[in-house]
């Protein structure tokens, strides 16, 4: 039996390889963090890769890269490649995560505390 006759495994390395166009899905070179907020600047266009189109559709309001990964049921490493492409082509923009370089400043932490106290 040929491999292609098997049911297409949603999480198989082969499928992920196809989605990223065969590129290495290393996240090391990306500036994207799990909590980078991304927003679509335009809707999907005809002939666009389905996964990329799905990302644009679900990001009509801001969403973290981690949420996109969860909703698409794709690994972060794959989503990172797709989102980097969409950012590079200007179809999305990102809102940089708050860089906690070493320790975050007190004002940021106070904002977090105030938010938590309202829960």
């Amino acid at each position: 039996m040929r491999e292609g006759d098997q049911e297409w495994d949603e999480g198989s390395p082969e499928r992920l390889y196809v989605i990223t166009g065969g590129r290495s899905a290393s996240t090391a070179d990306s500036s994207l963090d799990l909590v980078t907020l991304i927003v679509a600047r335009s809707g999907p266009t005809a002939g666009m890769q389905p996964e990329a189109a799905s990302i644009l559709r679900m990001c009509h309001s801001p969403l973290s890269v981690a949420e996109v990964s969860a909703y698409l049921e794709l690994p972060m490493s794959v989503v990172t490649v797709l989102v980097d492409d969409l950012l590079a082509s200007g179809k999305m923009r990102s809102r940089a995560p708050v860089a906690a370089a070493q320790l975050p400043d007190t004002a940021l932490i106070e904002a977090v505390i105030h938010g938590l106290q309202r829960l």
Binding site: E3, E14, R23, D33, E67, P97, L103, G115
Partner: protein, 206 residues
């Protein structure tokens, strides 16, 4: 080629969408052994049903020249549950529950590097799994507190005894919590933030 289902990918429910004004996100990592209640804690404070992001230990692209030989079972999928709290119109907090084993930590780029801090959730019935986690966080310079999840059948040690047993430095907070309870879980996060605040204030003065 079959991309079945890709047209119907859902995305967030309308009530789970963030407002347009959301501009910044921060994250806290909840670390603990299997079954210690990470997802319970995340779920009890999260405004969305906890979501799961997965990563494969075998990266896509590895061995693709020989796809016929790829055994599906050999690529381990590691899942990480997370939740979200909108703190105000602009600021969003994400909570990630991650296993204690360090080999998982590197699967997610910058999981700890960009985090405000970490909660080490422990079960007094299985203290031994916490030693490694605490040691690794100290090595990486990640500020953390220890939260003791109160399981009904777990032995209730005084926190001072647990601090000694875990060899925790006096500066690291240790708190008791009930991960099922929203207010209790929220208080763990507030305790962590107060600790981070004291660290940051010390840093700013010096």
């Amino acid at each position: 080629m079959d991309f079945k289902g890709s047209e119907t990918v859902a995305g967030p429910r309308s009530e789970d969408a963030l407002p347009e004004t959301a501009t910044a996100a921060v994250k806290v990592v909840v670390v603990g052994g299997f079954g210690v209640g990470k997802t319970t804690l995340v779920g009890s404070v999260s405004e969305i049903r906890p979501l799961t992001t997965e990563e494969t230990m075998t990266q896509a692209g590895v061995g693709v020249d020989d796809t016929v030989g790829v055994e599906r079972k050999t690529s381990t999928t590691v899942a990480m549950d997370f939740g979200r709290i909108s703190l105000n119109e602009e600021l969003v907090l994400y909570l990630f529950g991650t296993p204690g084993q360090q080999r998982f930590w590197f699967l997610w780029n910058g999981l700890f590097d960009g985090a405000l801090g970490a909660v080490v959730l422990i079960d007094t019935r299985r203290l031994e799994v916490s030693f490694d986690v605490i040691g690794r966080l100290e090595e990486r310079g990640v500020p953390f507190l220890v939260a003791v999840n109160s399981f009904p059948d777990a032995p209730g040690y005084p926190l001072d005894e647990l601090r000694a047993a875990l060899d925790l430095p006096g500066s690291v907070p240790i708190v008791a919590c009930d991960a099922r309870d929203r207010a209790s879980s929220r208080d763990v996060l507030i305790s962590l933030m107060r600790y981070l605040h004291s660290l940051a204030a010390t840093r700013e003065v010096s």
